[in-house]
Amino acid sequence: MRTWMAGLALLIGLAAGGATAATTERALANGMKVIVKTDHRAPVVVSQVWYRAGSMDESYGETGVAHVLEHMMFKGTADVPAGEFSRRIAAAGGRENAFTSRDHTAYFQTLQKDRLELAFQLEADRMANLVLDGDEFAKEIQVVMEERRLRTEDNPQALLYENLMAAAYQTHPYRHPVIGWMDDLRQMTVEDARRWYARWYAPNNATLVVVGDVAPERVFELAERHFGALPARDLTPRKAPGEPRGVGARQVTVKAPAELPAVLLAWQAPRLADPARDWQPYALEVLAGVLDGHASARLPRSLVKERRLAVDVGAGYDPVSRGPGLFLMSATPAEGQPVEAVVAALKAEIERIGRDGVDGLELARVKAQVLSSQVFRLDSLFYQAMQIGEWETAGLGHRAIDQRYAGLREVTAEQVREVARTYFNDDRLTLAVLDPLPLPEGKPKAPAPAPAMGGNHVR
């Protein structure tokens, strides 16, 4: 097994020397970091500006402001009126959008390679010169509340997740939803958005990531031209809120109109801090793979196929974050199966691994996924840039991405067993249960459609 994987790793290395190649990095004098990865497969370039400011940097009463500001970033500067940013990118054949997460806010454009400068010009302008008009804000906050209704209020599974987070984190701001609590959105003012913008939108809090068919020197030159003149600003000193170690299992119940119950389990888990030396986060990733990394993994095999306790199961762990991590498991009980039995079965799978370990074949199977994912990710320019941005804003640096793949390959069966024993006692656990309520008045008589069995699996 080892031999062919080593051979393949070499093959990837060779391929990487061809169409896709080196990543280079430069810092502008104002502290803005610029990272360029070349990929010459198509005459296209992705440009992303990452701000190290996400919902975890918000305080009580202003939750959601990071995301609201993201919306307002399209509402104009002195030189580029509201809506004009998107219009100019679209006119150049570009696609653009933005996203906000707990750790960061990022803005991106995908363009033909010779139009990269337009993206820089517009991004640099709104990094420093955003107008934040009161009337535009008044309309946009309505749009954001519609977004919250769509994504959360009317979606019982999303409500369950929101409640899980609010319980699993007692002190850390990860307890707040990225989109914000509805009451905070109702009371938010344009002043809140202005304060947020003034606090975090500065070149020394930003990373520019460019991936595509470009010459790095030329990109650095353009970056210098457009972002280089923006002054660095003193950033509010960051505090690093922690999360106390759990002292007993927590449980929350969400009652909402739904058909099927659902459970989510979250155990406190470490984040990746030192990519070269840490091994527990890699072992936890492999554990997630053993449980749910493919259709023949333990959870779908045992709970869905063999015992038919659940119609859907999942396990996941993301080691890359600025704040404290969680190892998650989920299940949708099959009709007639009590929630307790399904929770017990999920926990029993972890206990079994803690007791008996995993076999070599299982481990090799997960590592085969790791290896192929290392190749497959190179098919998407956007994803390559995402990965760089995430690792940068998490404070790990993009160079550590390859260390992760190496770290995953090194994980032993014994290490998987050890993390299964260490991190999964009930004191670290938060359990969230969706208790389906009958549909209120207005339930249609005839039941209707479904997630397709085709492209989308029943979920």
């Binding site: 093959l11 391929a15 169409a19 896709t20 497969r41 005459p43 296209v44 809506g83 998107s86 219009r87 006119a91 054949g93 033909q112 390679k113 139009r115 309309k139 946009e140 749009v143 954001v144 519609e146 209704r149 769509l150 009317d154 109109p257 739904a258 493919h294 259709a295 993994a297 095999r301 869905v304 196929k305 119609v311 859907d312 949708t332 099959a334 009709e335 199977r365 085969a368 996924q369 290896l371 192929s372 190749v375 497959f376 190179l378 098919d379 998407s380 209120p440 008045e441 339930k443 249609p444 039941p447 209707a448 459609p449 479904a450 997630p451 069995m453 085709g454 492209g455 029943v458 979920r459």
Partner: protein
Amino acid sequence: MSVRKLCIAILLWLVLPAWAGLDIQHWTTPSGARVLFVQNHDLPMLDVSVGFAAGSARDGRERSGLAGLTRHVMTLGAGEWTEQEIAERLADVGASLSGFLDQDRAGFSLRTLSGERERRQALAVLKAVLSAPRFPDDVLAREKARAVAGLKEAATRPEYLGEKAFQAAIYGDHPYALPESGEIETVGALIRVDLLDFYQRHYRARDMTLAIMGDVDRETAERLAADLSADLPAGEAPPPLPPVPMPTAGGEQVIPHHATQSHLFIGQPGLTRDDPDYFPLLVGNYVLGGGSFDSRLVKEIRQKRGLSYSAYSHFAPLRERGPFLMGLQTRREATGEALEVTRETLRAFLREGPGEAELAQARNNLVGSFPLRLDSNRKILDHLAMIGFYGLPLDWLDTYTTRVEAVTAEAVASAFRARIRPEAMSTVIVGGQLDPAGR
């Protein structure tokens, strides 16, 4: 190369200096499957997509959901392997096998590393799935139960209720009316023989389209295509789908729901894949509701009034007329306003047609973003599969930008007026009734 082609090539070169064109190789396997192949060795990986005319329009009303369940269960036991062995054999080489289904088409996409060992093992699984599915009874029972659970959950969701009712409203008795995932009763009643029979009738080599993209040479591609299509069912071709009749009268349907938002669906049957007005409608729809923040619907609904997070219109072309749909979601008390603004936006667009500036913006975006449609193996594969399945000309991509450039305001206006009939449209509103809690 013909003179015409040469001209287009030169034109393309001028418009898109970096666009080198896609070298699509094309042949038919000994058993009759159509193959489209693009060779590319940049990454050590291979994508294969196989498609059949085996979508949900082939279900029949009594067996709604059959196409989806058949496709799904084909991967859960085939040849000498159980479902567990299939999953393990794929996982062992890091390959992934996924499925797709719409009204017209069903099939599979395989992504694997291109090393010989990985490729052979992954393709052997796909071959077994295509040519020797077992449809085990116990697996079928379990998957039916899972599908029914999914259908019950979906029946609580406004977006599913609305889409389903909309599809039923615009298609009436046509098979496109059937929901892709079926009905609780019909899925619950399916038996093994139904699946086996559906497979025998619809997974024929002569109806198979193979798209191959990535790191193999022509000879290897030919061999794998011949092999994958070698042992499929023979038999008679199923009859073609009937044309979709254009509705003569519209209607409005309100489905009560407890959600905080109303979901609106407004539309009618739209266009076919080979429609001569495809490009005028594509460009025009960019202006109406396809062009995101450039579009009139987003400007009117979201930018000016803050009524919805998403507002759109789209044409989804199919073999026969696929849907034209305008949609949005808004707080329930704004339902009436949002509905009126949407309808007025459409009426104004039909009346005036696109403005010159709007049209230029649409053309610039569609032409300028063309290379972005083909910037990954995955995207190229999907285009190959689509071109192959619908039998579009192989230069469809090569002529795309010139055909967009050629669209005039008059062409858009007349194509829209000829197709889009506000008075014959169906409207579905999920929610929208008075909120008893007064929220």
